[in-house]
Amino acid sequence: MSPTTATPAADPRLEVRKTYKLYVNGAFPRSESGRVYAVHAASRGRGAAAGAGSRTGALLGNVAQGSRKDARDAVVAARAVVAGWAGATAYNRGQVLYRVAEVMQGRAAQLAAEVADAEGLTAARAAATVAAAIDRWVWYAGWSDKLAQVVGNLNPVAGPYFNISAPSPTGVVAILAPQRSSLLGLTSVIAPVIVSGNACVVIASQDRPIPAVTLAEILATSDVPGGVVNLITGHTAEIAPWLASHRDVNAIDLTGAADATGVDWGTLEAAAADNLKRVLRPEGVGSQAQEPDWSATPDLHRMTAFLETKTVWHPKGR
């Protein structure tokens, strides 16, 4: 740089905005419906505890409004990849999840800004939330090759047989992502599902989808095979029933039914009974659904909810 060089009078630079798209089968398509919906920032200071739906801030972007057909395509993608993902070594899956944390770390500032906008957090709280989300990936990454040891066991049957029970992934899991916690909550529902070898179709927080889209970009660049996580933005109430009744979906996590506009989790659970999906109910009392406190260290239940215990017998003889 030369101090003598005259700087030409520059035009104010126009920012390049992003088109927020879906993440299906490792690619970023627009919704097949061609629809988008406007997403606004939350008003500052309301905090993560604030209810969804209060969107008074600036326009953040026009986000793809996924349709039932997008969800259907996502299920096809998840089904196609799930055997391979489940068949990968646990060590490999653990490294892939850890890689997500690594890539997230590099984009922490972007994520913090988006979380701040989405959830109406101060910069400091948003940064702390992003840090917690990164650490959650690390936490779950380490579980990949311990889970079978902790939840599986040898069974001392009364006969000359070797008998072992080990977990295997349920298959394709539909996830209603939390409506409020746009990144930490999202991470907390995706990581436990995929760490064991499931593939998932996630409906992002309806009003706070932008961190989810960025997470999708991170997943796409961090060795997670395309199709293992598919992310649909749009209206939860529109898409969720199709996933709940989809016969090629093996399980559904209804956590994000809490505060989702027009969503009754009991109706979704009833639809899931058609093919006896495993259902992870939202937290809460009675028919009330409540989004959990994501800051607490998780336990195993979000992993075990999407595991099947397989027991294998073999005779012991000469």
Binding site: V157, A273, N275, E283, L300, T311, V312
Partner: protein, 485 residues
């Protein structure tokens, strides 16, 4: 030469005394049912064994209230060690009265005495013995809590069981529930209530606190009243996938838990290098054990094409030694079909198999004139598209399908909405482990079939239901593990 045909060797009925009629077992006492009595038959003779009381919704309500009172007042407060001692007591009484239970089970269910004597009753006792030991060790189970502060019971459990293993299914349900500190209301199947009612006497003999175990008899309506009762915290059901789905819908949107042990259409896969004589036995055990009234029955024989003819020939030769007849005869291998309804279903599905073009074969065997009987039946030339390859028949009917490669075997085995069990027969160890990984089934029997043990978790993938029964895993549904619901 004289044929070595074995003379009749009937087990004596004298060990059981069956009352003319039975009420319900509520709060530690036998009480009259409000509904209309219905008969329970000996399916081998169509003899009416007793009149059974039908529990109405009001009766169910009283039973649930008794269970709630017992849970809050006694059982939920009792130490694990004391709960365990009650279960040990029950296990011992079942062992002591084993012959009585076996004969009664055979009379009411139609299964051979050799099975009720050697399988059902000993396993039922073993389940109580196994779970008794858990009662004061739940904090060590890795299911939440700690040794000092064990996980909590769920509360009052409604349990609905099928007619194929009446006492054994009762044990699978009641033993873990009680060990974990829950109280139960159990409904036995309409056609096989007698051993559950005898078990109620065992509860009295063991001085089990009133209301900890309640038994309500009846048909579907009684079961529905129990499942839908708001005072129930958890449903444990074993039965058809159809009813399982109704239950899953019924609990949807509530905080009631459910575990469902449902139907199956298991593939029993025989490779060309299998230990062939043991494979034949495994096929027989897989589909003809308990008249094929087994949710995990190996009803689809997937045989490698290269040995199809040899295996089928060996199987048919073996089936000619199957002894069909009086279930009380100690030499009977295949007993009666449990009910006229089930017999009609088995007949219908077999007719469908013939109509679809599969080749039907049964050994020559004389069936008794009275009672519900069906000869062991093998369909060859079956393909995946046939209904008899897709639908659960729940009878002594085997469908034989061929495959060429391990991958094709896996694809065909998994090509079903069910996922309860599977069998693999090969002498190649690495293939067994690969197959076990690939098969979408809750139980994989390699070089064996239809083995059960209290320590071994049992339950299905996909539409075969969810939850596990038995083993450490089987405790989980009966505990509040610390995870939020």
């Amino acid at each position: 030469m004289t044929r070595f045909d074995y003379a009749p060797a009937p087990e004596s009925r004298a060990v059981v005394s069956i009352a003319d009629s039975y009420g319900l077992f509520v709060n530690g006492e036998f009480v009259p049912a409000s509904g209309a009595p219905f008969p329970t038959l000996n399916p081998a003779t169509e003899e009416v064994l007793a009149q059974i009381g039908e529990a109405t919704a009001a009766d169910v309500d009283r039973a649930v209230a008794a269970a709630r009172t017992a849970y809050q007042g006694v059982w939920g407060r009792l130490s694990g060690a004391e709960r365990g001692k009650y279960l040990f007591r029950i296990a011992r009484i079942l062992q002591e009265r084993a012959r009585e239970f076996a004969v009664l089970e055979t009379l009411d269910n139609g299964k051979p005495i050799s099975e009720s004597r050697d399988v059902d009753v000993p396993l039922a006792a073993a389940h109580f013995f196994y779970h008794a030991g858990w009662a004061d060790k739940l904090g060590y189970a890795g299911l939440g809590g700690s040794p000092a502060k064990p996980p909590k019971p769920v509360g009052v459990v409604g349990q609905v069981i099928p007619w194929n293993f009446p006492l054994l299914m009762l044990a699978w349900k009641i033993a873990p529930a009680l060990a974990c500190g829950n109280t139960v209301v159990l409904k036995p199947a309409e056609t096989t209530p007698l051993t559950a009612l005898l078990f109620a006497q065992v509860c009295q003999e063991a001085d089990l606190p009133p209301g900890v175990v309640n038994i309500v008899t009846g048909a579907g309506a009684t079961g529905q009243a129990l499942v839908e009762h708001p005072g129930i915290d958890k449903i444990a059901f074993t039965g058809s996938t159809e009813v399982g789905k109704l239950i899953a819908r019924s609990v949807a949107g509530t905080r009631k838990r459910a575990t469902l042990e449902l139907g199956g259409k298991a593939a029993n896969i025989v490779f060309e290098d299998a230990a062939i004589d043991q494979a034949v036995e495994g096929i027989v055990r897989g589909i003809f054990f308990n008249q094929g009234h087994v949710c995990c029955a190996g009803s689809r024989l997937l045989v490698q094409e290269s040995i199809h003819d040899d295996l089928v020939r060996r199987l048919k030769r073996r089936l000619q030694t199957i002894r069909v007849g009086d279930p009380l005869d100690k030499n009977t291998d295949l007993g009666a079909i449990n009910s006229a309804t089930q017999l009609a279903r088995v007949r219908e599905m077999s007719a469908v198999g013939e109509a679809e073009g599969a080749e039907r074969w049964s050994p020559a065997c004389a069936l008794p004139e009275r009672g519900f009987w069906f000869a062991p039946t093998v369909f060859t030339g079956v393909s995946q598209a046939h209904r008899i390859a897709q639908e659960e028949i729940f009878g002594p009917v085997l469908s034989v399908i061929t495959f060429r490669t391990p991958a094709e075997a896996v694809a065909k085995a998994n090509n079903t909405p069910y996922g309860l069990s599977a069998g693999v027969w090969t002498e190649k160890g690495s293939r067994i482990l690969w197959m076990a990984d690939q098969l979408r089934a809750g139980v994989v029997w390699a070089n064996t079939f239809n083995q059960f043990d209290p320590t071994s978790p049992f339950g299905g993938f996909k539409e075969s239901g969810y939850g596990r029964e038995g083993g450490r895993h089987g405790l989980e549904p009966y505990l509040t593990t610390g995870a939020t619901l």
